[in-house]
Assembly symmetry: C2
Homo-oligomer: 451 residues x 2
C-alpha cells in the first residue's frame, strides 16, 4: 500500500563500510502537542530520497534543551553507542558522514532554543554576526516596523558555523561541522522559509560536498476518471518491474503512478523513464491528464491557449471554487473571462436566464438546469466555452431521489452544443469533498472536449 | 513561535520521581521516503495531550528489524542509559511507567515486521491466536473474498500480549508489558483503523490503568487584523501566567491564542478558562473574531443571519475564492445569493457597470473600481451587502506604483454607502497567499461592519 521501492531504502541489514546518512530532527513542543502536522519532515524526507541520500530515522522533540541534546546524541552516536550497533564492526573513524537536519526553534522567543542547545552540546560559544543583525533590521524596516530587541538573538550563531541564509524570514539557519564526519543544518519551522533555504543553499552545498552520488529521477503521472485499483490492473505488468520502478498512489479523487529511475545522470535516468511513461500512456489513454506539478486547471489552460479559446463559469454548489481553481494558474486571464456565482435560484433565473418554470419543475439540481446555466453564462460573457455546476454538497438538502453528492455539470461548446454530465459523489465524505470533486470533474470534462 | 505551554509539556529540567510518559514510534519506509504525511503522530500526540499523558519524543523508523529494535531500545532506556540522563538520579526501579505507541508494520506482507521485531527483542515467541484467524477469515468472507495465506501472519502475537481489536481492518494490535514498567501498544498505519482502535480500546485501558489522572481543556481564540507580535504585547500579562496558560500561535495571516486549563473536571477547567478569555477579549476588542473551529466566513454568516441580511460578491483577482469561502459554510444559502467573477475587464463593465472611462483612467486595481464593482453587484443581485475585490495577485502584472500584492476591497452597505479598503500584502509570498489574504480581509471588513 503506497509502499515505495526507492533504492536507497532497500534497508540492508548491514550498511556499507563508508556510511553516509542523514537524520531529521524536528524541534517543537507544538509537534508533541499535535497542534501541527509535521509537513517539514515529509518535505525533507522526499528531498533526501530524490537526492539518493540515505535516511533511516526521524525524531521529534520539544523545546527543551536536555531533551534536544539527548535526541542529537542519540542520532550522532548511532554507529558508536551499544544501541547503535546496527553495523558490526563499528566503521573506522572517518568513514562515517552524518548529516543532521533540524527544523524549528530558530525564532526570537525564549522558547526557541535549537542553536544555543547545539552550541552548548558541542562546546562552542555563540557569536553575534553584525551582518545578520543588519539583515534582520532591514527586513523589519521593509515591512515598516522596528526590529524588537528580542530578534537580535537570531543573529547569534555557534562559533565556526556558516550562515544558511533565509531570504524570506528573519531566522537564519546554519551549516556547521562541530566535529569530523558530522554536519548539522538548521532550518526554521515555517515550511515556506525552510523549503526555500533547502533548495537555494542546502542542496547546492550537499552536491558540492559529494553527498549526492547517484541520481534518482521520479516522474509522477496523474490520472482523472479512473480508480487507483482499475489503474493498477491496467498497468499491472509495470508494477513488478525494477529500475525504473512504478508505484501507484492515490489522493483526493485522483490516481497517480510514480516512475522512479536511478542512473549516473539525469539524462540517463530520464532515458529510462521515457519508454515506461510512453507505454503506460498508450495503455491508459486520455485518463492520464498530466505529470508532476500539473493540475487539471493548468492543463485546461494550456489547451485553451493553444486554441486561443476563452471560458466562463456558472457555479451553484461550488460557490466560486471552479473559478478559483482556474485562476490559481498565473496568466489565466488570457483565457478565463469570469462567470456568475448563482448560489441562489434568483441569480440563476435573472442573470443566467434559466427558465423559472423548468427550475420549479425539475429542481435546481438537474441536467436541464446545468445545461441552461452553461448556455446562459456563455451568452452573457461571450466566451467560446462555458462550464456550469449545480449539485447537492450537503450535509443537508439531500433526498431519496437527489442524495447529497448528486452533481450535474454542463459544458457549452464553441459549436453551440451543451453537454451535461451527472456525478454521484460519496456524500459521506463531506461537503468539501463533494465541492472539490465537482469543480475538478468540470475541468476534466472541458479537458476531454478540448483534446 | 507557536510555542505551547500545556502542563505535561512544561518541560521541566528534572522530571518528577514517579515518571509516567509515552513515546510514539511510527514504523514505515513510506514515511522515510516522504510519501505520506505522518498524520498518525499528530493524532496520537493530540490525544495524549488531551488526556494529560506526558510525551517528549516521537520517532520514525523504516521497515527494518535492526533499526526498529534500536528505536525501541532508545525509547525504553531513556531513563537508564547515559544519553537518557535527563533525570538525576535515575529513578528507582518501579517508579517509571513507559508507554510506547507503535503505528504501522502490522500488515500481511514480508515488509510488515513490527510484531516479530518486538517479540524477538523481548525474547517472546510468536503464538497463533485461532480466534484471530477466524476473525480475519470472516472479514474476507464478508467482502466476498477468500483470505490469502499471507494474512494468517496477522494472527501471530507475542506470547503474553493481549489483543487490541481492530473492528475495521484485518490487522489486530496488541497491548503488551514485556517487562515491568513498560507497556507497548501497536496500531496499524491506516489512520481510520488506528483511530478507532485508540478510542475504543486503548483509551479505556489507559483510564483503567490510572494513566489518565487529570483533565486538560483548551480553547483557541482567533484574531484578524492584528499581528502575532502586537497581540502578544497587548496580552503580555497573560502570557506569563500559570494554570490556565496562554500561548500565541500564528497561521496564514491570522493570530491565535490558546488558553489551556488543567483541573479535575471539564467544568472546573472551563471555569478557569472563562475569566481569562473575557479579560483578553476586553483588552483586544473586535480583532478577536472567534474561537476554536470558527472561521471568518462562519462568523460573518452568523452575523448576517442575526440581522436577516444577504450578501453578494464581485471578484476579480480572487476569481471565485471569496464566494468559495462563504459557501464553505453549510447553510450559507440563507444569506449568500452569489455574485460575479469579473476577471476580465469586459465583465466589470458589461455586468457590473463599472465606468469604462474610469477603468481606463484609474486601472482595474483602484479604489474607485472596487467601489463600482461592489455597487454594481449589489444592484444586480439585490442584496443588503456586497463585497468586491480587485488586486494584483502576481507573479506578473505589478508595477512600481501598483506592486504585486496591492488589493482594493469594496463594501457596499445596506445604507447605500460604499467603503473601500486598501491592502498591500507581501507579494513575495506568492499568488496563493495574496489571493487568500484578500478574500479573508474582505470577510473581515464585512464582519466589522456587521458588529
Amino acid at each position: 500500500m503506497n509502499q515505495s521501492p526507492a533504492f536507497q531504502h532497500s534497508e540492508p541489514e548491514t550498511l556499507p563500510t563508508a556510511i553516509q546518512h542523514a537524520e531529521i530532527i524536528c524541534v517543537g513542543t507544538e509537534l508533541l502537542l499535535g497542534d501541527i502536522l509535521n509537513s517539514n519532515a515529509q518535505f525533507l524526507a522526499r528531498e533526501l530520497a530524490s537526492l539518493g541520500i540515505a535516511h533511516y530515522y526521524q525524531t521529534v522533540v520539544g523545546d527543551n534543551p536536555a531533551r534536544i541534546q539527548q535526541a542529537v546524541l542519540t542520532a550522532a552516536e548511532r554507529f558508536a553507542s551499544p544501541h547503535g550497533a546496527v553495523t558490526a564492526p563499528t566503521p573506522a573513524a572517518g568513514s562515517v558522514s552524518q548529516l543532521l537536519l533540524f527544523t524549528g526553534g530558530l525564532g526570537p522567543t525564549p522558547d526557541d532554543l535549537t542553536l544555543e542547545t547545539l552550541a552548548d552540546l558541542f562546546g562552542a560559544p555563540l557569536v553575534e554576526h553584525p551582518d545578520l543583525v543588519a539583515d534582520i533590521e532591514a527586513k523589519f524596516t521593509a515591512r515598516g516596523r522596528v526590529m524588537p530587541p528580542s530578534n537580535r538573538k537570531q543573529a547569534l550563531l555557534p562559533e565556526g558555523a556558516t550562515v544558511l541564509p533565509n531570504p524570506q524570514g528573519t531566522a537564519p539557519g546554519i551549516i556547521w561541522s562541530p566535529r569530523p564526519g558530522l554536519t548539522l543544518m538548521t532550518f526554521p519551522g515555517v515550511p515556506r522559509e525552510m523549503q526555500a533555504m533547502w533548495k537555494e543553499t542546502a542542496v547546492p552545498y550537499l552536491r558540492a560536498q559529494g553527498w549526492v552520488t547517484t541520481t534518482i529521477v521520479s516522474r509522477m503521472l496523474r490520472f482523472w476518471g479512473i480508480s487507483e485499483s482499475a489503474l493498477a490492473e491496467q498497468v499491472a505488468a509495470y508494477l513488478s518491474q525494477g529500475n525504473p520502478t512504478v508505484a501507484p498512489y492515490a489522493s483526493k479523487g485522483e490516481a497517480k503512478l510514480r516512475i522512479s529511475a536511478q542512473a549516473d545522470s539525469t539524462a540517463a535516468a530520464l532515458a529510462k523513464i521515457e519508454p515506461v511513461e510512453a507505454g503506460i500512456r498508450a495503455l491508459v489513454g486520455d485518463d492520464c491528464y498530466g505529470t508532476d506539478d500539473d493540475s487539471l486547471a493548468a492543463v485546461v489552460g494550456r489547451l485553451l491557449r493553444l486554441r486561443q479559446h476563452t471560458v466562463a463559469v456558472a457555479e451553484s454548489c461550488t460557490g466560486g471554487g471552479l473559478g478559483q481553481l482556474l485562476t490559481n494558474v498565473a496568466g489565466s486571464s488570457a483565457y478565463f473571462y469570469g462567470g456568475v456565482i448563482a448560489y441562489d435560484n434568483r441569480v440563476k433565473v435573472n442573470l443566467l436566464k434559466v427558465d423559472a418554470a423548468v427550475l420549479e419543475q425539475e429542481g435546481a439540481v438537474s441536467a436541464i438546469v446545468a445545461e441552461q446555466m452553461a448556455s446562459g453564462v456563455k451568452t452573457l460573457l461571450q466566451t467560446d466555452w462555458a462550464l456550469s455546476i449545480t449539485g447537492i454538497a450537503g450535509p443537508d438538502g439531500g433526498s431519496e431521489t437527489k442524495p447529497v453528492g448528486l452533481v450535474y455539470i454542463g459544458l457549452a461548446t464553441p459549436e453551440g452544443d451543451v453537454l451535461t454530465y451527472k456525478h454521484e459523489f460519496s456524500g459521506y465524505r463531506g461537503r468539501d469533498w463533494v465541492r472539490q470533486l465537482s469543480a475538478l470533474s468540470a475541468l476534466d470534462a472541458l479537458r476531454r472536449n478540448l483534446l
